[in-house]
Symmetry: C2
Subunit: 198 residues, 2 copies
Amino acid sequence: MKMTNIVYQKAPFTREELIKKVQNRLSEKRFAHVLRVEKAALSLAEKYQVNLEQASIAALVHDYAKEISDEDFIKKIKSENLDVDLLSFGNAIWHGVVGQYFVAEELGICDQAILQAVASHTTGSSEMSDLDKVIYIADYIEEGRDFPGVKEARQQANISLDAGVSYETYHTIKYLLEKKVKIYPKTIETYNRYVART
Amino acid sequence: MKMTNIVYQKAPFTREELIKKVQNRLSEKRFAHVLRVEKAALSLAEKYQVNLEQASIAALVHDYAKEISDEDFIKKIKSENLDVDLLSFGNAIWHGVVGQYFVAEELGICDQAILQAVASHTTGSSEMSDLDKVIYIADYIEEGRDFPGVKEARQQANISLDAGVSYETYHTIKYLLEKKVKIYPKTIETYNRYVART
């Protein structure tokens, strides 16, 4: 995969320019994670015939809003008249669901498929596009990840995008439950669609 | 607890008459469960100062719709214009959420507190009344229940209604997840309210 061969047509900048913009907003550690997610996303996109440009852009911006302050997220939730239930969650949910608004506004990315992939990258949804699945999975299995089960997660992603989504969703909920962390309703929609037996 | 001492004022029949009506709709085994739930509910209601008549009636009718056919539930979901998402669930959810309509219609019970307790007895909700909690818990810990953890569930219910709700909800979701069964969104609302750390 030669990433530098991707020429952006859906964004008002080159890949190198986007990388700079992202780097400016993130810690060194998180920026390195973002580059690894792009690598994993492009590999999945190539395997599953997903548009490489969209996969590259969505991966590079998926955590764009991760270091935005809670205060600014709350302002955005109010100014965009988003579901007030969002206020009872936090950065883990906001940086995707609300983060898409910062990506659109500050980076001028208007491609709805990309914004949707950013929005759903931590929760999934009941109707995920292949691009959504690629970003959701790439974030979980990028080569820097090292948690019990990551090997199996990579194997499942290699079988199919749906198998990858299912494995990740199941284990994410199990983890949240063990830690007694609030579960965002959309995460359960993802579980009901991609994990539960029908 | 002398159950026969309860005189119904919120229902157009005596306790004995209600018991007959319920018995006519249920298998012998389930009817025995219902009587045990009433016993547990009255014990909890007495401990936590919940109205005994409401606890008795709600307990006796909580499974009233349990043996109604899927076909009749689907008809009711459509005729009452209930959330179409309900159609992707089954009897386990319907007999409470939709069951309340059969209880109201066929038994003439109009007490909203009772109907709400019936509606939420398998899923809970994000804002449970004490009566809701009593029925939700009683169904789980009645003396005939025998599953790993039931002893701890009874101990938690003895500490507080919220502790009982929390224990039951946590373990119910864990069980559903292990079995990869669909999870009704309201169950997660209950988890987020009574189990998750804020």
